[in-house]
């Protein structure tokens, strides 16, 4: 959410995405899961730099503060047999014209200590202009608390190559405290959204969590492969590398 972004980024987004951005910004100082979920679904916008991510370029022994670093591609046990399109932020898959997935691995820590590893996955199925994200999945090598899944539908225009959220389409799910090694999903039905007023769209998801013994919130977000209007009220996914700008990000916030 916005409190995790650099101040200049917040200002830029606020100018572009009012009033949604302002609503999210109101929750900037809040630190509880309740406040986080109250601000859920407020897609972060064209984020470029995330607090804590600058630590990823440093050796572990030289890191300070909180950090979360992507390290994809993820293990074969999680990934699909579909090879997909992979970057350091994750892998994107197109299974058919109406089904696409995303997977990633991230390592998060505090100072010179790696606390854990997370495995992330979501899959989107299209039905006309309706999207269903299921499963939206999370697994951590260590116990985490206040895990929140978030979702939003994005639309793209030449002015918004990174996508902007569809108003009112955001949603979230508080999964709560998750034991180490347990795979959890957005239950019971995942995330659904409907929008048919833009020819290019995607679905955005974020996972955010706290640690019992450390301050702050770690987060990881990603956008699906873009899907386009093919007529008769239906949308199809493009190629697995057909991504908007800034297709994924991760980091840490004080909130």
């Amino acid at each position: 959410m916005f409190p995790r972004r650099a101040p200049h980024t917040i200002l830029l987004i606020a100018l572009l995405i009012i009033p949604a951005a302002l609503t999210a910004g109101t929750a900037a100082a809040a630190s509880s899961a309740t406040a986080r979920i109250a601000a859920a679904g407020q897609y972060p916008g064209a984020t470029v730099n995330a607090i804590g991510q600058s630590q990823c370029a440093k050796p572990l022994a030289e890191r300070s503060g909180n950090w979360l670093c992507p390290a994809s591609p993820i293990p074969a046990s999680i990934a699909s047999s579909n090879e997909g399109y992979c970057k350091i932020q994750g892998c994107w898959y197109v299974y058919s014209e109406v089904a696409s997935g995303y997977s990633a691995t991230g390592y998060f820590g505090y100072g010179d200590r790696q606390l854990g590893e997370v495995q992330l996955y979501f899959e989107v199925t299209l039905n006309g202009a309706h999207s269903l994200s299921r499963p939206v999945r999370f697994e951590s090598s260590v116990a985490v608390v206040n895990l929140i899944f978030e979702g939003n539908r994005l639309l793209y225009t030449p002015r918004y190559p990174a996508g902007i959220p569809v108003g009112g389409a955001g949603n979230s799910h508080l999964a709560g405290n998750i034991p180490a090694g347990e795979t959890v999903q957005w239950t019971p039905n995942g995330y659904k959204a409907y929008y048919n007023k833009a020819s290019e769209q995607s679905v955005w998801h974020e996972w955010s969590w706290n640690m019992a013994d450390h301050p702050g919130t770690w987060y990881f977000w990603a956008k699906s492969v873009k899907f386009i209007d093919v007529g008769e009220g239906t949308y199809h996914f493009g190629h697995d590398d057909d991504l908007g700008e800034n297709p994924a990000g991760s980091g840490y916030s004080n909130g």
């Binding site: 199925t125 009112g168 009220g233």
Partner: protein, 119 residues
């Protein structure tokens, strides 16, 4: 820009789409775009209802919607094909408790559809 308020589909209008996820979960969605001249600011501009269940339940639900057009996604054709009508009596009854709507998992505003245009 980019906001859509949702209401209910209007009988006699819209398209019903049927699809199956890669996990084998069947899902139908009835989607009706309201005419622009019937939509005022702050009111829904589309109606959506959806349903999940077994293949038979979902196809029965789809075929029994009073929509205008009906489609089912074909992995072989890589596209939606017309959902051919069938004798509804041959299909098992849909389990109403499995009925879900787009609104159930979304914050999208739901307001009743606009009144029918006189004449």
């Amino acid at each position: 820009m980019g906001e859509q308020l949702l209401g209910s589909p209007r009988p006699g209008h819209g398209r019903v789409f049927v699809n199956c996820t890669r996990q084998g979960e069947w899902w139908a969605s009835w989607q009706d775009d309201y005419p622009d001249d019937e939509v005022r600011d702050g009111e829904p501009d589309a109606g959506v209802e959806d349903f999940e269940g077994t293949q038979d339940e979902v196809i029965r639900w789809a075929r029994t919607r009073p929509a205008e057009k009906f489609f089912i996604f074909s992995d072989e054709a890589h596209a939606y094909l017309p959902l051919e009508p069938a004798d509804a009596a041959e299909l098992p009854a849909a389990a109403e408790h499995r009925y879900v709507t787009a609104r159930a998992g979304s914050k999208q505003t739901v307001i009743p559809p606009p009144p029918a245009t006189p004449g």
